[in-house]
Symmetry: C2
């Protein structure tokens, strides 16, 4: 019998097709392989990107020259523009505003062939620091209500360039999915006077079946109702409402890299998306929303049923996914 | 300047990247071509599918034999099972229930090479009648709260078999996306005492820029804030809360086929998803929710930004899409 499960964080229902119980090798995965060719993100090609917004330069070379270990630049084809006013207006029954915001690219390493799973641990930690510093800077802009940090790895996950990079989009409104998670977390807190994700961590730690790994400050879980096979959450163990170095970025870098190595091992370098969900600026510190990282390997197709219902069909129970990941030899 | 637009039906925000303003030929589309080979849905292979639930047999041949013009069978790998009780239970903090429901396939034609765009108009109309009859039948089952009818055309849109077919999934709960649309429609109605979609039809008819086509009873629109390029809505002009033959299935078949021909012409046979959004059974007749068909050509990839925010980035303004479709010579 398939099982319907409700994800308490998003309120989404998911169909777990236990009978089909796909093993990792059953997915027709397209490996995220690097093919090379000219690359604007490689060291030496700094002049081909928009000017850098920040960079880590151990030898203090001048901006937009080689010698960096990490660079942040504007997206060459930004989804939103940094200049201009919001200009919220109606168009009869419809609502619109100008596309004001920021769209930046974090080039995580000068080495074309690295990935977050293979680069030196220090570079993963630097990437987290870059996210943090850019969010802090963008917070100064009163038009910005939310910054979404995300990563697309592999063509099938939407990456248009193969050189390892993450992105952020600063938005003039709080995105729906984040607002829905916040509303549910608030509702739970109002009723229980406890944080939902803190409660989930307690229950998952006690049962253990969906725990992938943990370290001193972070735990990695296969969520109870994952949208797709091998969806994975990285969560700080202590309550923290916003993405910050409070739980220590070296411990986060360590567990993030370990998790990605496990995913690469079990699924043979799958394309994936990674997203950071954190509190919006205006409720940066609160007792009910718990920030986390979502990793979504791209193994299944979104079809009419998902588009029409918001429901997902997942052929791999999270208990199996967690087990495969725990047992991966990395 | 890009534009942020809010879809009043779903409450979703969309970024319209007007600068990029992609033309149809800019999309790297993968054509939904038929490759042939053994097909369980072809006439003569009836014994290779689960037994038929209903069929249109003009010559009254016996079930599961050739001679049909349309067949409905259970999905061989159903996402939900028809037998069993719901058994809603908690698992600590989590909620789950048995995957009870139905998953059926509507084989729209015995001809392997037909599509909804190319088959005889009568077959399109029969397909609509089959949807209606199956929904009516499933409504008798008190465990079923909603029936989602959808179609995946082409491999990239999630179709695993190329022979023309639609599907339906009968669900024991109302899916999130439908519930959200209903809540918004209800909210609008409570404030305005008018149906939201009726108001949209009035405004779109007056402006004309997003109208693709219309006939006596139906209008085809590029929505104000489409999730992806060339998203298209087919809406009955008069208020109707549930999918029914009241507006006449021959007029619906005619406009549906015309719309699909336009999409095929402009986008060169793109993969697409089609979904019917109708009122749940328990509010089958109401004044605020207006049933409609959504058609979503699969031209862009869902990446980290969309997964993390619920926002969509659309490079084609709906005004351009509507114009391209209006001008398509079909």
């Amino acid at each position: 019998m398939p099982e319907l499960r409700k994800d308490p964080i998003s309120g989404r229902w998911v169909i777990i097709s236990i009978e089909r119980g796909k093993r990792p090798s059953d997915f027709s995965m397209r490996i995220s392989q690097k093919t090379g060719g000219f690359c604007a993100f490689c060291a030496g090609n700094e002049h081909t990107t928009p000017p850098e917004i920040m960079a880590f330069r151990p030898d203090k070379n001048k901006p937009n020259s080689p010698g960096w270990t990490l660079r942040v630049v504007s997206n060459k084809f930004p989804a939103l523009n940094i200049e201009g006013n919001l200009g919220r207006v109606g168009e009869g029954i419809f609502d619109k505003m100008n596309g004001v915001g920021a769209h930046e690219v974090i080039i995580e390493s000068p080495d074309h062939n690295h990935t977050l799973a293979t680069m030196p641990l220090k570079s993963v930690e630097d990437t987290l620091w870059a996210f943090y510093q850019r969010i802090k800077d963008l917070k100064q802009d009163s038009r910005v209500k939310y910054v979404l940090v995300f990563k697309n790895e592999g063509d099938d996950a939407g990456a248009s360039l193969e050189h390892t990079h993450s992105q952020l989009i600063a938005l003039p409104i709080i995105p729906n999915l984040v607002q829905e998670e916040i509303d549910l977390a608030k509702q739970y807190y109002d009723y229980k006077e406890r944080c939902l994700l803190c409660d989930i961590i307690r229950q998952e730690t006690a049962s253990g079946t969906r725990v992938v790994t943990e370290n001193e400050n972070f735990i990695v879980l296969s969520p109870f109702a994952p949208r797709s096979p091998f969806e994975t959450l990285i969560v700080p163990k202590a309550h923290e409402s916003s993405f910050s170095p409070d739980s220590s970025f070296d411990l986060l870098a360590q567990i993030l890299q370990k998790t990605l190595k496990q995913i690469d091992k079990v699924l043979d370098l799958p394309p994936y998306n990674l997203m950071i969900h954190t509190s919006p600026f205006r409720i940066e510190h609160n007792d009910y929303y718990h920030w986390h990282i979502e990793i979504l390997p791209k193994l299944t197709k979104i079809a009419g049923f998902e588009w029409g219902s918001g429901f997902y069909i997942n052929p791999t129970p999270p208990e199996s996914a967690a087990k495969f990941m725990r047992e991966a030899e990395i």
